[in-house]
Symmetry: C2
Subunit: 276 residues, 2 copies
């Protein structure tokens, strides 16, 4: 497994590889990331994984500083998975003095996480555009856990005609239902114990839909009750959207997606689930 | 010479070509464009020219509607130049319903033409990002006449790590000094007669610099006088900037660039000249 830390090294290494599957990550890998790596190995000649905590997608310096890191462990994990190349660029090379470009996405990026995290999706789209241009992968792999991010990536890749197939894989979950996230490591033991209630709230919504309920307000209220009854009251949003627009509609329809974002102690957790 | 009108056709055609030199144009070709094509032919295996009046870089529907077009003539000219492929995408395919992405450039893009033409550089950067992703040229050719555009393109290509070399060639001028521009065709005969005064104003600035003048205010005043004395009073800007920042400095220094933008009847003309 090759380790690249500069853009030039990465370009040289890429030229040796055939069809590349790319898994962009911010490191502190969990089973969700590894499920993406395994799928990429099946579908392409060589897997490239980036480990880069992208400063421009964080709203606060505090959140950036507190993002968990475990570079040596991540590299060991990826070596075991048969990854061809790990790319760990330096922020100073990625965003040198005078850097002045941003990939701005409208549409789906303006909903939910958009206003909650100003600049976040522009930061994600900008760093991914850079990675796609450097690594030139045939496919790139993302987890459905960040459902809105997946929609944003699909949008700008299509709009800018970037020649990469975006593959979205199902959310990997712990045995108790908690969606895999690097941020989970920052939960206290008590918070970790309560965290699966996010998944339970989504399941409650799906159960009601299966029973025939279609009124969004009723479904959202039921999901919110599950959170509140478990003591999770710092709720950013609980909603159900049309997955093409990420906008809410009065009556939920085939394909509708339930999403929530909740603050649990120092950590903001998100999760989502298709209701049909 | 192959004509491509869809993204898919263009991608298929590109796969047959070797090292590609790309000349993006809005059509209504003049000798300036052809000088870019000739250089591209010398330096690459195959030349691709786009003819596309890009709607998203126009501030007003009026300016867009009035932009001159001569598709058949352009194609005939390019055939004679040994161009491998002409790409004339449809706006409806380039910007379909739901299109929501913009490449926003700061820094140099925020000066001069930036505030004068809101959204212009974002429109230019966005369409070029699309062309670069579809055509994947090794080199792309631009005229120095649009000096600030050249700086904006260099900026976002570098920031997004787009694997293309940007080549800038000197401004092509008519015998009387007028810089080649498709917009010149919209000048009346009387206006065309007065238009070379833009070049004369720039030459006046350069002459003064050669004589030792370094005070920007004095130089700008002298250039402005040349315009006003010729009756060109609808001046958007006459300035001298540091070419790295496109910002004005009190004392002009080695490398300084004089730029002007003047309204002449229905047409807004720009021109520029290095002062050293």
């Amino acid at each position: 497994m090759k380790l690249c830390t500069t853009v030039q090294e990465m370009r040289q290494e890429r030229a040796q590889l055939g069809r590349v599957g790319f898994v962009p990550t911010m490191g502190f890998l969990h089973e969700g990331h590894l499920s993406l790596v395994r799928r990429a190995r099946e579908e392409t000649d060589a897997v490239v994984v980036s480990l880069f905590v992208n400063p421009i997608q964080f709203g606060s310096a505090d959140d950036l500083a507190n993002y968990p890191r475990a570079l040596e462990r991540d590299i060991a994990l990826l070596r075991r998975e048969g990854v061809a190349c790990v790319f760990t660029p330096e922020a100073a090379e990625f965003y040198p003095e005078g850097f002045a470009t941003q990939v701005d996405v409208g549409g789906v990026a303006l909903e939910l996480e958009g206003p909650s995290r100003p600049g976040h999706f522009a930061g994600v789209a900008t760093v991914l555009a850079k990675f796609f241009n450097i690594i030139q992968p045939q496919r790139a792999y993302f987890g459905q856990k960040d459902a809105q991010q997946c929609a944003v990536v699909q949008r700008f890749v299509r709009d800018l005609n970037i020649p990469v197939d975006i593959v979205t894989l199902p959310t990997w979950r712990e045995a108790d239902g908690l969606a895999g996230s690097s941020r989970n490591s920052r939960l206290t033991e008590a918070e970790r114990h309560r965290a699966p209630v996010l998944h339970q709230a989504l399941c409650r919504g799906r159960t009601l839909v299966q029973a025939g309920e279609r009124r969004r307000a009723v479904l959202e209220g039921a999901m919110r009750d599950v959170l509140v009854q478990a003591g999770l009251v710092d709720i950013d949003y609980v909603t159900i959207v049309n997955p093409d627009t990420f906008q809410a509609e009065e009556e939920v329809r085939e394909g509708a997606l339930a999403l929530l974002a909740v603050q649990l102690g120092a950590v903001r957790l998100i999760d989502n689930m298709p209701l049909f």
